[in-house]
């Protein structure tokens, strides 16, 4: 199977020959929390920062790395990467870009005061050494293959702003000086963010003279805005509107779809002898049935993934059999999507000693993933058909993630069965493997989101081996093997991969991205 990348315009864009405006307005589902590119490790912030700032290494629409401010990078020994920088690049204020800016940016990134989620996640364990004005060495303590990947997350700011640059200085525009294709113009929190084209951009002048980002969190309002022509493009088109947009407004609006790197999955309590939300049908306490791999397999078989994709997701999702869509780095090409087999599920349940099923509650957020609460309801229906007595409880993410991660006594996960999602920021399988599958390990920073606490020394060893293998080919194979083992043991039950949809007015095209970024650079005129 090929990578799902078919970004097809479903509309018949009629070129009317009208003069194009040089300005672009984009309606955003989520608003960046700051202009400061190092303040908050959050998708909308990264997306916005890509306009004003460059990174050393870029990620393209399928998260392949490409040279940006760095022209090349390679390991020169086990623990050192050599990065050569692009020459002749100028910041928006006219100053020249060189290694000092890189060193400054990497020092600043993890240390922004009040940061709610710091960039330290990407800079930790790395020491940058300036070799000459256009060469940098990145040193790690142990062999670490993800260096290029992680430095691709850090925006480069000008070192002329120095330590005085606070987040507020970025928001006011004073310090918002980058090398990117657009220059900062204005920022009204909750209102709009304006950037203007940087005609001197090293990669060529951008398509638009001026780009305005307008946060419109309410989905119907966002769709209405693009239909009414108030904005030229929007992201996060709700699945419910896609069919109708295709059908009736095809001449006004074009849709652009691409699979994301986000898998929606179920985590099951695999560490407690008695799980709080798994009971006998009469409500009595029973031994946690989810510890039995046959029960987990039965649950996976009882899920009609195609029905979820078809009816709940309105065909805008891809059934999942593993952690990342095929074609991504480290995804296995051996794994199949678990087929729907209700009889098989009942049989497995009987074998495991639950011929009459048991009582189980699925917990899910209701405002985090596309149609999350509805998926949980559908799962509830499907498990009911396999003979379980199901309860479905959905809650806002503010409450859900805390309880799911550490709601029980001793900071343990509270629930027995949860629905959640994972987006692989690095674009490779090491990301979900490290956080969702690896044994929970506070000290070493593994399994931070392993809310089912599945634990297998063999898989752990595989993951750790992959994470210290610099050779790409060998690492890819190791990651695929680890994924296969995890699916085999049902550490997790994957449901589907999200597909994201953007809409533009007709006459424009959008290049969908797996990392869910919405970029003005991706909008072009036909």
């Amino acid at each position: 199977m090929r990578k799902y990348l078919a970004a097809t315009s479903v509309a018949v864009g009629l070129l009317t020959g009208a003069a194009y405006a040089e300005d672009l307005t984009i309606g955003l589902a989520s608003e960046p929390t700051s202009i400061d590119p190092h303040y908050h490790n959050l998708t909308p912030n990264h997306a916005l920062s890509r306009h004003i700032f460059d990174t050393l290494i870029g990620q393209d629409q399928v998260q392949n790395l490409y040279p940006a401010l760095a022209v090349s990078w390679k390991p020169i020994d086990d623990t050192t990467w050599e990065v050569r920088l692009r020459e002749g690049v100028k910041f928006h204020d006219g100053t020249d870009f060189n290694a000092d800016d890189v060193i400054f940016s990497f020092e600043r990134a993890p240390n922004v005061p009040n940061s709610p989620s710091s960039m330290g996640t990407y800079t930790s364990g790395k020491t940058l050494v300036k070799v000459d004005d256009f060469t940098i060495h990145v040193k790690t303590e142990a062999p670490y293959p993800l260096v290029p990947n992680e430095i691709s997350q850090i925006a480069i700011v000008s070192d002329s702003i120095k330590d005085a640059a606070t987040t507020a200085d970025f928001n006011s525009g004073k310090a918002a000086i980058g090398t990117g294709p657009y220059k900062f113009k204005s920022y009204v929190p909750g209102g709009k963010i304006e950037v203007t084209g940087n005609a001197d951009y090293w990669g060529g002048a951008p398509e638009w003279d001026k780009v305005t980002f307008r946060p419109i969190p309410s989905a119907p309002a966002r769709v209405a805005a693009v239909l009414a022509g108030d904005v030229d493009a929007i992201d996060g088109v709700p699945t419910s509107d896609i069919e109708a947009l295709k059908r009736s407004d095809g001449d006004k609006v074009s849709l652009w779809q691409g699979s994301s790197n986000r898998v929606i999955y179920l985590h099951m309590d695999q560490f407690r002898e008695n799980s709080p939300f798994a009971k006998g049908k009469d409500g009595s306490a029973i031994k946690n049935p989810l510890l039995d791999a046959r029960v987990r397999k039965a649950l996976s078989k009882a899920i009609h993934r195609n029905a979820i994709v078809e009816r709940v997701m309105e065909k805008v999702a891809i059934p999942a059999g593993q952690l990342l869509p095929e074609g991504f780095f480290g995804a296995s090409d051996k794994l199949e999507v678990e087929g729907y087999d209700l009889e098989g599920a009942k049989e497995l349940l009987a074998q495991a000693g639950y011929p009459d099923g048991f009582e189980l509650t699925i917990h899910s957020p209701n405002d985090r993933y596309i149609n999350d609460a509805k998926i949980a309801e559908a799962i509830g229906q499907m498990f009911t058909r396999a003979g379980l007595k199901m309860h479905v409880e959905t809650m806002p993410r503010t409450v859900f993630f805390q309880r799911a991660s550490s709601g029980a006594e001793g900071g343990l996960p509270e629930f027995s069965l949860i629905l959640a999602g994972w987006s692989a920021g690095s674009g490779e399988a090491s990301s979900p493997l490290k956080s969702l599958i690896h044994t929970f390990d506070n000290e070493r920073g593994f399994g931070a989101s392993n809310r089912g606490r599945h634990s297998s020394p063999q898989i752990d060893a595989k993951i750790e081996q992959a994470l210290s293998t610099v050779d790409d080919e060998a690492r890819e194979a190791l990651l695929a093997e680890a994924t296969e083992m995890a699916i085999e043991e049902l550490a997790i039950i994957p449901l589907h991969f999200q597909v994201n949809t953007w809409a533009t007015r007709s006459g424009l095209t959008y290049q969908p991205r797996t990392d869910e970024f919405t970029l003005a650079m991706g909008v072009t005129r036909e």
Binding site: G27, T33, S34, Y39, H40, N41, L42, P113, N114, S115, P116, S117, S118, G120, T121, T167, A168, N171, V188, P189, G190, G191, K192, R214, P215, I216, P217, S218, P220, A221, R222, A224, A225, L227, A228, G229, D230, D367, P396, R397, T398, V399, F401, Q402, S405, S406, W422, S423, G425, S431, S435, N442, E443, G445, F446, A448, S449
Partner: protein, 325 residues
């Protein structure tokens, strides 16, 4: 007088403190903002850093004490999400909300009073009955539903008005407002209408009741008998008399307009403080929630205090000792 004032200020301070306590503990006992904030990729060390940075590792009582200490100095905390002082964040959005609320109020009065007066003068006429039914209908309609209907009809179907957001901001006599530009005016029509509907129903009913009462007064009958033109009676006697209660009530209701703007602002993506509140509730930005409620509480208590003082000055029947006769 001074004693009265001091006592009332004291009482108000107690109220503010009480609300601060309730709000602080209420907001701080649910959920966990840390899991909302940190990137899912973050490891346990990063989570620990954020918990410590926001002081969430301290006992709740200590957090409360620190909050009170800051509050006395006018600092209601720093937004978890934006990293800026919460008060500043809210005040930054205040003009947009005020703009919306004032426009809604003007619309409500502008349409509400004529309709109300008409149905008060001719209570039995068919038109009046329609107006009254419509006004009941008006406050039966959920605001959010009306909002989306307005967008559907005027923005999507007719493409007359922009669907969301605030327009260009212009400057006039040193005041910045989107009311001073054409684009801004176009943007405000729908949200202001949406917000105005509820109050319009109220104005209609108030002015109708007022009109009916006034029309039976002797001086109106007298004026009629004197041969004054009907228009003149309405203008000189009727309106003057019903305006006072209408305006008093609307003044008091202004606060509820600001509160209801929460709904309207969410639908129309209006960058005001109501939308900020909802965003903060959904993302558990505790300092902003607490600060918003504290600011509102403070405003209300202050308005009440001022109203009470003015009342006591104007109305000799209200004794300043506080106990009513």
């Amino acid at each position: 007088m001074l004693a009265f004032l001091i006592r009332r200020i004291g009482q108000s301070a107690v109220v503010v403190l009480l609300m601060a306590t309730i709000v602080f503990f209420g907001v701080n006992l649910v959920g966990d903002p840390v899991h909302m904030l940190v990137s899912p990729e973050a490891d346990q060390a990063e989570i620990a850093r954020v918990i410590q940075q926001f002081g969430l590792d301290r006992p709740i009582v200590e957090q409360y004490w620190l909050f009170l200490k800051g509050a006395v100095q006018g600092n209601l905390g720093t937004s978890f999400i934006f990293g800026q002082p919460a008060v500043g964040l809210i005040l930054e959005r205040l003009p947009a909300t005020m703009e919306l609320a004032v426009c809604a109020l003007v619309l409500a009065v502008f349409f509400g009073i004529p309709l109300g007066v008409y149905s008060g003068i001719k209570p039995k006429s068919r038109v009046s009955q329609v107006i009254m039914a419509a006004s009941i209908f008006g406050f039966s309609l959920p605001t959010f539903w009306v909002g989306i209907m307005l967008i559907m009809f005027f923005s999507v179907q007719l493409q007359l008005l922009p669907s969301t957001g605030r327009g260009e901001v212009g400057s006039f006599l040193g005041i910045d407002s989107s009311l001073f530009t054409l684009d801004g005016l176009k943007h405000i029509i729908l949200p202001a209408t949406n917000l105005a509907l509820l109050k319009m129903s109220m104005v209609i009913r108030l002015s109708r009741a007022g009109t009916r009462e006034v029309m039976q007064q002797d001086y109106i009958k007298f004026a009629r008998a004197k041969g004054l033109s009907f228009g003149r009676i309405v203008w000189a006697h009727l309106l003057k008399n019903i305006m006072i209660p209408v305006i008093t009530v609307l003044g008091l209701e202004f606060g509820s307009l600001i509160a209801f703007s929460v709904v309207t602002e969410s639908i129309f993506a209006w960058p005001g403080m109501g939308k900020l509140l909802i965003d903060s509730v959904l993302q558990l930005d505790r300092p902003v929630i607490v600060a918003y409620l504290m600011i509102v509480v403070f405003l209300f208590v202050a308005i009440n205090l001022v109203v009470d003082v003015i009342y006591s000055l104007l109305d000799p029947r209200v004794s300043l000792t506080g106990a009513k006769s």
